[in-house]
Symmetry: C2
């Protein structure tokens, strides 16, 4: 086995592991190390809209990589309502919040037909001990998760409804771009209900704002298809 770094191309070529890019790419693993990581990963699994990836209270500690499709994570409040905590697109990791107490403290559901890779955490922790750079990378990912949550706290605490929706659209746009997809034209895989829930707004408010953005020629919205027409104005709205 050679000592060359595993490139993004090589990762992508490996069917089982291509969605692990986020976990191992930034530091560049040695091929041997990469193989060890590869062994941990269970075969990918196809889920359909509404299927649960994992459930609050689950004792099966794993993290999941979205290969294709999309999922949402959510918690259930004392009063039984759902709180959407985040949406996860292809290439992103889900389940990093569930490392405590050996159980997941939130649930995850597929928004559409999706392909998912599962990595049992016990195994992952073990090879982290063997591959220091992987441990660092895992910590980084989790830390990034916290940063993301902090952005969300800020959004909920300080931004008005226009800013929230604009920020949401820009976040999706940026993440699509990162994965090489169109940042200006995409489909929403989540319902207005999910968006509203996530942004702490009423469905009606989200609907009204999308219509308004449409009237103002900032985006073109047709049902779940989004076309960002004026990226700059959207940016302006998001931070104003």
């Amino acid at each position: 086995m050679t000592e060359t770094n595993v490139s993004f191309r090589a990762l992508s070529a490996s069917c089982k592991t291509c969605s692990l890019a986020e976990l191992c790419l930034p530091r560049g693993l040695q091929a041997e190390e990469f193989q060890r990581l590869d062994d941990v990963i269970k075969a990918r699994r196809v889920v359909h809209a509404g299927d649960l990836l994992f459930k609050e209270g689950n004792d099966n500690r794993s993290i999941y990589a979205v290969r294709s499709g999309s999922v949402k994570t959510f918690a259930i409040t004392e009063s039984g309502e759902e709180q959407v905590l985040g949406f996860h697109l292809p290439g992103e990791i889900v389940g990093l919040a569930g490392l405590d107490e050996s159980i997941h403290n939130c649930s995850s559901k597929a928004l559409e037909t999706s392909s998912i890779c599962e990595m049992p955490l016990d195994d992952l922790e073990d090879i982290c001990l063997q591959i220091p750079s992987l441990q660092k990378q895992l910590l980084k990912l989790i830390s990034r998760e916290i940063s993301q949550d902090h952005k969300m706290l800020l959004l909920l605490a300080k931004k008005n409804s226009d800013q929230r929706v604009a920020t949401f659209l820009l976040s999706l746009s940026g993440r699509f771009k990162l994965r090489g997809l169109s940042s200006e034209s995409f489909m929403l895989s989540m319902s207005r209900q999910d968006i509203a829930n996530y942004l702490g707004l009423a469905v009606e408010t989200v609907s009204r704002i999308l219509t308004k953005f449409g009237d103002d020629n900032i985006v073109e919205v047709t049902r779940r298809s989004i076309q960002i027409v004026d990226h700059d104005r959207l940016l302006e709205v998001a931070s104003t």
Copy 2:
């Protein structure tokens, strides 16, 4: 060096490290391991109200344990406002969000005269490789941080102002209790401004609600001193 587990009493006896209970206690480190951890910790440091522990963009990656006093963490928004992300009481760890990108992505400021232990992350990561249980414990702590943030997202997205303030008081109460302090009677080290900012409310709203809780004989509030009179009613308000 004996192989006995380090007890809480032993930890507490160690001046330098007593606030590390949260990091090493739950799994019980061996004495030798404990010594290695102890070596990482820089001497404790006394900070005064308004002093910065660390600053956004700092390249000095460390986590901090609050030994006495209290601190807040906060981020600065694009428009220059402050967003309070959390308050940290004695025995709690600060700075877990800053492991990514080699910089802290939020800042931390002392709310009163406080004693703080600093642990450089590079050293901590190194000994994590030698002490697997410590790695798990660190992951758990970070994961708990995420859970806490999720609770906060839920609060900001779903709860009204009464519920937010009630939840806040109960959170403090519970954390004081956990550290062996009175859960029914305590001092707020943070200003109304900080509370309001944290809860996504206006100062006036926080003030009004505290007054109302006082009128309803749920708590007694005198400036920054809080006495919880009717814990059950407070619980009821928080979740209603």
